[in-house]
Symmetry: C3
Subunit: 152 residues, 3 copies
């Protein structure tokens, strides 16, 4: 099934892709690699989740925040490539998780994005991944995702 | 106008490119992508700014530190490619900002580098970008920049 | 000398490559670039070092942890490419070092991996590099490494 049919079946409508906060662009393509700018868990331009894991945001909420961020990423990829069918492979994802002292479950949080990408793209969605604990993130976001995608 | 003419018009003389602190190299080219090593805000081999945003370094100073770091990056790129005319596109920049607890204005700091790259390269300088809050950075630097550039 | 002969001369037997902790894969190849997932200092599936630099782990231990992590990375690369002879160049390494407040010697820690890669691969092992201080890392690991390798 095509990724956009999967999304439809999940009842997910892609939002407007996030706008850059300054003099950069949402994504740059070099050869067949598309490098996305960092993406936050925004809903209608506002943070849907705020604060740090291990303090303000639970692992379950963080998982949902990661999924929401991945949905934004797909919106951005679709705008760049015209269709999600143009994705050959999700190559690499890095999940930066704002972490209060002692919080070490970054992988469980970033899984929210990884699981979703595999659900939507199947094998094409299986990516190399990093999960990291950031001291702070822009706007007090709990997660920031970065993606590199191989495109047709 | 060529990037090096723009720099001249801005009165900016590129410094000696930063030397690696250990057994790595300033940059590696793979195909048409040039991957730069992390760059700190050094002036004549010493940190021009020191400490964390939200504690020791103001947003305005951080902006200037980011710009200074971007100048170092250009020096490194020029050394690798022979001329800044060889830059096809600034693909991706990641700005790691040393952040005291509660500091969430990383984008405003990293703008110092983004604005400068667009000033020098025009559309070629518009990049995908991440702004992140690091717990600590080498030598107590307030910012470390990473760049991927597409070259002729 | 071939990299695997160098390893043999050093008395190093590559372990089983680390298994992903979730729905991602150890590495993805796009064109001639191999992107590895983040790697922790595991020995037989358990963290060989635990905690933060500047608090629980000394610089010397961190250096050894970085080397151990690089050995895991080679195991992963070998599994992906069939042989370390297929490595054209180690392109980029990013070392995320879990850092207690005030710890700024990330480069000295990450050197444990950089020195080792150059020892094994010679010039082919010289990479672009970042050393960063993370607030927290998965499982309370002191270091997480990321590698991009150019392959035949």
């Amino acid at each position: 099934m095509a990724p956009e049919e999967v999304l439809q079946g999940m009842g997910i409508v892609l939002p407007d892709p996030p706008a850059p906060l300054a003099t950069y662009v949402p994504a740059v393509r070099a050869g067949d690699l598309l490098f996305l700018s960092g993406i936050l868990p925004l809903r209608e331009g506002k943070l849907a989740y705020e604060g740090k894991l291990g303090a303000d945001v639970s692992v379950e909420e963080g998982y949902e925040a990661a999924k929401l961020t991945a949905i934004s990423a797909l919106a951005s990829i679709k705008k760049q490539l015209g269709s999600l069918d143009q994705v050959v492979r999700v190559v690499r994802m890095c999940g930066h998780v704002a972490s209060a002292p002692g919080f070490t479950q970054q992988p469980q949080v970033v899984n929210g994005a990884s699981d979703f990408l595999v659900e939507v793209f199947g094998e094409v969605g299986r990516h190399a991944r990093l999960a990291l604990g950031a001291a702070e993130l822009p706007l007090n976001a709990p997660i920031e995702l970065e993606l590199i995608v191989q495109a047709k």
